[in-house]
Each structure stands twice: as structure tokens, then as C-alpha cells.
């Protein structure tokens, strides 16, 4: 087996960084720190996308990278942080499962994701193919985070992290999606966050708390 090129090594490094951040998001209990982590995840995503764009010489990936930088590193974290400040919801305290259990579950998910990605990576021809397993793992971990959190804001961060994973999966498997699709998703995410922001205010208005277990009372009996 020939030694991997510098680009591939760098890419693997970025992928590992993303996974690491996913895990730290899973264990992080403070909302502001979580948003900062999300911004860092976006930054690494930007770096890896730029790298792929440079090495493969694909122009549209540069646009994607720029979009990532603007949207996920600056705009969304900014909106979320402002929201958290306005809602005074910096302290997300408890999770539904305790952190060690969640981490163990996360490890299981990563193994599952790698097992799943193996046959697909074998077929891929891109230089990024080894990272597909990581991308899947990021998606599943983000999902797990959504399940185990109680507060509405952290759920949104989990949702956005999942989108990051999908984006990473797209670049790693097929050098990204068509520009139109990517633009559409970016806009959806932006609008989604704005709408959810409005919802947060409504939820707090109604229940004087952002804790989601209050929503259980909405069920019709």
C-alpha cells in the first residue's frame, strides 16, 4: 500500500478533527460552548472543503467553501449566540442520559458507521473516500445529541451539526452536490434557524421555560 499523499493525510486529519468536535459537542453541557464548538466544526468543514476544491481543481467547491465560511462559521453561530443571550438560556444543565453512557453509545455508532461505509468507500474513486465513514458517524452523533438533550436551543444545534455531517458526506463521497442543491440547503438552514428562533420565543412565552418536556402537555388525550 503506497503512502498516502499529503492532501489525503491532511483530509484525514480534518475528518478526525470533525469527529472529535462531534464527541465534544455530545459531552458539552453549556449552550454557549456548544455553539462555539459548532462554529469550529464549520471552520474545519470550510478548511477541508477548500482543500478538496484545491486538490481536485473544482470551482464550484470553492463557492461551497465560501458559503460554509459565511453561514456556518459566522452567521449561524452569531444568530444563535444572540438568541441564547436574549433568551438567557446559557446554561443547559441536564441531559436525558448521563454523559458517559451517551459517549459509549456514540462510540458504538461510530463503529456502526464505519462498518456501513466500508463497501461504499471501496467503490468510490475520490481522494476523500476514506472519510465517508466519519461523515456518517457525525450525522448519527448529531442525531444522538438531539435525542438526549432537553432544551430547544441545543436541539437546533444538533440539527445544524447533522447538516454539517451531510455536507461533509457529500464532499467526501462525490465532490459535493450540484450548486443549486447546495444553495437551496443553505437557504433552508438559514430560514429554519430564523423560524426556530421565533418558536423559541413563543415556547418561552407559553411555558416560561425552554425545557421541552413542557411540550408533552400539548398531546391530545
Amino acid at each position: 500500500m503506497p503512502a498516502p499523499t499529503l492532501t489525503a493525510q491532511l483530509l484525514n486529519g480534518f475528518a478526525a478533527g470533525l469527529l472529535l468536535i462531534s464527541f465534544s459537542m455530545l459531552s458539552q453541557r453549556r449552550t454557549r460552548a456548544l455553539i462555539t464548538l459548532f462554529a469550529w466544526q464549520g471552520a474545519i468543514l470550510f478548511a477541508s472543503t477548500s482543500l478538496v476544491a484545491y486538490s481536485a481543481g473544482l470551482r464550484h467547491l470553492w463557492y461551497s467553501a465560501a458559503l460554509t465560511l459565511v453561514l456556518k462559521v459566522f452567521l449561524l453561530p452569531f444568530i444563535l449566540l444572540r438568541l441564547v443571550r436574549r433568551l438567557e438560556a446559557q446554561w443547559d444543565t441536564e441531559t436525558l442520559l448521563n454523559i458517559p453512557t451517551t459517549m459509549l453509545l456514540g462510540v458504538g455508532l461510530v463503529i456502526f458507521a464505519f462498518g456501513l461505509a466500508q463497501p461504499i468507500s471501496a467503490l468510490a474513486t475520490t481522494i476523500t473516500r476514506n472519510t465517508l465513514g466519519i461523515a456518517l458517524a457525525i450525522i448519527l452523533l448529531a442525531f444522538l445529541m438531539m435525542i438526549t438533550r432537553r432544551k430547544a436551543v441545543t436541539q437546533v444545534v444538533g440539527f445544524l451539526a447533522m447538516e454539517n455531517g451531510l455536507f461533509f458526506a457529500a464532499t467526501s463521497a462525490t465532490y459535493g452536490m450540484p450548486m443549486v442543491v447546495e444553495l437551496g440547503i443553505a437557504l433552508d438552514v438559514l430560514v429554519g434557524v430564523l423560524i426556530l428562533g421565533i418558536f423559541f420565543f413563543q415556547i418561552r412565552e407559553q411555558f416560561e421555560s425552554l425545557d421541552l418536556h413542557h411540550l408533552e402537555t400539548l398531546k391530545e388525550d
Binding site: 456502526f112 462498518g115 456501513l116 448519527l140 442525531f143 435525542i147 432537553r150 398531546k219
Partner: protein
Amino acid sequence: MIIGWNSGPAPSLVLLLGLIAGWLGLGLAGLLRPHSVGFVARVIFPVGALVGLAVGLVGLGALRPGSLPQTLVLPLGLPDLPFHLRLDALAGFFVLLLGAAGMGISIFAAGYFRAGQGTAPGLLCLQYHVFLASMALVLLADDAYLFMVAWETMALSSYFLVTTQHRIPEIRRAGFLYLLIAHVGAIGILLSFGVLQGGSWRFTFDAMRGQTLGPAWASVAFLLALGGFGAKAGLVPMHVWLPEAHPAAPSPVSALMSGVMLKTAVYGFLRVSFDLLHAPQWWWGGVALAVGLGTGLFGAVFAAVQTDMKRLLAYSSIENVGLIFTAVGLGLLFQSFGLHLFAALALSAALIHALNHALFKSLLFLATGSVLHATGERNLGKLGGLIRRMPWVATVALVGTLAIAGLPPLNGFVSEWLLLQAFLSTPEIPQPFVNMLVPLGAAALALTVALAGYVMVKFYGVIFLGQPREPALAEAHPAGWLERIGLTWLALGCVVLGAFPRLLLDAAAPITASLVGATVRRGRFAWAIAPIAPERASYSGLLFLAGILGVVGFTFLAVRRIYHGRVRRTAPWDCGYPWQTPRMQDTAEGFGQPIRHIFGSAFRLERELPSPWDTAPRYRIHIEDRLWRLLYVPLGRAVQRLADAVAVVQGGRLAVYLLYAFLTLIGLLVFVL
């Protein structure tokens, strides 16, 4: 809009589509001034009635001898799934029915609707005309897609019409029951079409005609169609919505639903069982026959014990639909044994009875509407003696009553006579078992028809004859002139078609020629028929009419002129009993009592009998359908239990919902792996 045709020009069909669009346009025009009764009722409804007349004439045109089916493909609907339309003799016959009955009902409605609580007149006008247009589209549809779209539009628009007085909880409940059963039926029809396409995945009726299904699949399709269309038509045990929904709706709507909408179900059933499925098996006919007879008898017995005049008519509709399905079943039976002439006879009876029922049942529902407006009463126990206050309504209602009771010389007799003739032809059936059983059906038919006569005597006698049972009835005002025109139009239809019965056979002939490949014998004269052979049985309506008019006229003259001509008006002899009150007349309950006694096991009775010492005695009787407790209540409970079991999934916790999505994702990924 581009209209593409695939087999030559289709002028009648295009004209008909224009008329349907006209109905829709009129409906929308009602929204211009939604609260103005004057505009909606006096302008839009009469125009709608004229459109109805034109629709009827186009339908009549499609029945001309030698007129070919016209088809049209409209590039509407979903991509790659255009609407196919077809106007053939069968569709034309029912279009004629829709137009003729719709004309009378719309004219009546113009005089009927007033400002009041409930739906605004403009909205009502939109719903009413959408209802008419969707029924027309059901008849013209030539693919399952357009058929279902029109069918559901019909169900929904009629649902909103039924719940016009939506502030009353009982009416909301009746509407919901109707909607529920309509949807169950629609699912049956949809599945039936799914079977009929036979793996070709093409849903035009043309493609379905081309399929040859195995006997098992064909039977499945037939039974699904019987269930689906039966739910709309009101066959037992799916009849429960009828006696609830018909009284809840305003009278013109009841007339339209009972007179026309039930017939679209008959049309659909005929389309599937004779046209799309071409080789009937003999037991199909047996099933339809048995269900039809059971429904007929059930309807007649229940109608006899009702005390609400619209409920009584609703049960009578169930009975008549039963008779129509009996005739269709008999036709299927004959057709499966290759007896084409007799199949044509039975099918003619079914079609003619459908048309007749549309005329006289609409007429009677409208008459109850007039009575309701004049008195504010639907309960038979509080009516009576209205023939003096409302002579016009009483006269046309008498025509309708005699027609529905199946008495010559009116049109009801023609179809029932034809049906009986068809029954009398059953000895020709080669299967000995069927041969022995079907005459029992003839007996049941005779019983049903006789009971229907009994019901109608009760209906007419209690409402119009005798003394007014309530003092308020003295203020009853006669119907307006628009209402009278509508009623008279329908009554004239009953008389003319009864006097010239061959017109009916002429209308049915092209249909039987295309569906069963034979036509019954039609004589030289429009006023006489002898469908099989003149020496076997013949009937001449005009002769009867002339005879009856002659006898009545002569008697009138004899009494007034020849006898002595002095007429005194005086109180009838009261047997020397001085304290007679109108409440001593026979009541609806009293009149129905023998039937209630004889068929006691069919009902579930709840009675409150006053004791002899009551100072204010009240007699209350509540008659319930046993099927409701035996079938519907357990079914409802089972559904509730199932729903409760499923509702455990909906715990209300967001994390759990997310977990469902997560597990599904993992499961799917594992599946892919």
C-alpha cells in the same frame, strides 16, 4: 385551453362540458353577493335550472338510435394523466336523469331557499352547483382517475350541503356518518378499479375493458364494486347514513341526493358489472339479487313505522334502490346464462326504475319541503288536513304518491311491471337450483311493492287528509309559484312517462343493445308496451289513464249534474259522540302499528307508555335499527380499541419521537447493508 380529441369531433360532449362549466360558473357567481337571497335564489337558481334542461336534452341526444359514443381527452389533471371523457348511451341516460330531475329541483330551490341561520345563500349556491357538476362528471368519466376525483367532489359537496344547518349537533353527526360511509365506499371503488386494471397499470376504462381477468379476480372486482357503490346507494347493511343525512339536508338537497346521487351509484355499478367486466358469473347476479331484495324489504318495513316524513322518504329510497339492484342482479343472472333478451328486460327495468324514482322521489322530497316551510313541522303526528290549505302541493304530491306506490297509469307501475315480467321469465334459466329459488324473490318483490303502497297511503293520508292535528296548521300558507313550477315539472314527468311507456323502453334500448347485446320488443305505439311478446303480456298506459279519467269525470258529472246537484257542506256524522277532536284521527304510529307488530323482531323498540292516571299523558316510541347495535357499535368499539393501542406510540415526548426517526434511520441503513 387546448382540447384534443382522439376519435373525431365530439360536439355533444363539448357542449355538455360547456354546460358543466356553466354550472360551476353559476356557483362562483353566487359568491359575488353571498348574503343576498334575492340575487342567488331568483337569478342564479333559475338559470341553473335552464342549464339542467339543456344537460338533459344533450343526454337525450346521446340516446338517439345510431348515435355513437363520443370521447374526449382533456389535458387537465396530473402530468401524463389526462382526463378521459366519454358520452355513450349509458352515460347519456343518466345525464338525462340528472338534467331532468335537476331542472325541477333547481326551479323549486329558487323559491325555497330563504335567509336564515346556517350556510350563507351564496356559499350554498356554490356547493349546490358544484354538486350538480361533479355528478355530471362522474357520469362522463372514462378513466378511474377522473371518476374518483369527481366522485369525491360529489361526496364532499353533498356533505357540506347536508350540514347546511351546522349549528345543530345532530346534523353535524348525520353529516359525519354520511362522510364516513361515503369514504369507506370510495375505498371499495378505488380497490375495485385497482383490480380491474389487471396488471396493465393503465386506468382508462378502455384499457380495463380490454383486460380479461381470471374468474377469481373478476369476482373480487365485482364484490368490491358492489360494496363500494352499495355504500353510496344505501344497500343494507351500509344504509345507516341515508335516514340520518336525508332529513338533515334542506329539502331540495335531499331531493337531489335521493333522486340523482343514489343513481350515480347505480350507474357506477352498471358500468363496472356490465361494461368493464364482460363475462358475469351467475352467482354475482344471485348476490346482487339477494342484497337488493333484502334492502328493498328492509326499507319498506322501516318506512312503514317512521313518524318523521323525511325519514320515511329516506327509508323509501332505500327500498327503491333495493328494487333497482334486484333488477340489475336479475339482469346479471340472465346474462350469465346467455339469455340476452331477458337480461335486456331486467336491465331495462333497472334503468327505467332509476329514472322514475328520480322523478317521483324528488317530487315527494320537494313536497315535504313545501309542507315544512308552510308549517315548520316534520313530525307526521302534528300534520294533517293540508289538502285544504295547500291544494296545489297536495295534488302533485298525490301524483308522486301514486307513482311511487306503483299504481297505473303512472310511471312507477311501468318499471315495477317490467321487473315482475323479468321475474316471471326465470323458468328459462337452465340451472335448476336457481330456477327454484328465484320465484321466492318474486314473492319478496311483491311483498316489498305492496308494503311500499301501504307506506305511501300513510304518508299521504296523514299529511294531507283528515283534520289538522294542530291549531297552528290553519295558518299554513300555500307554496310559492317557483316551487309550484318545480313540483309540476316533476309530476308531469311522472304522468307523461306513465302514459307513454314506450318512450322509456326506447331510452333504455341503446343501452341494453350495447351492454347485453339485445333489446326488448318495442311496439308500434308510444302508449303501449309488450316487451317480450304481445300474447304474453302487454300494458298500455294511455288506455288506463283515459279509463281512470273517464270514470272519475263521469262520476263527477253524475254526482254534480245528473243526481241532483245540490251540495251541502256539513260536519260529518260523529256517531252521536259530541267531543270529537282532531287528535282522535288515526296517527302515523297507529297506522304503522300492524307492521310494527308483524315485523317486530326487525326493530329495537323503546316505548314510554303513559299510565291511566297521567294528567298530561305522553306517548313516546323510539324505533331503532338492530343492525346499528349488532354491527356498527361493535365495529366502532374495535376501531377505538385499536386506535388506543396505537396511540401509545404518541407519548408526547420529543426525545422519543426523535428516537423513532433515529431507529428508523439505523434500521434502514442496516437493511441497505
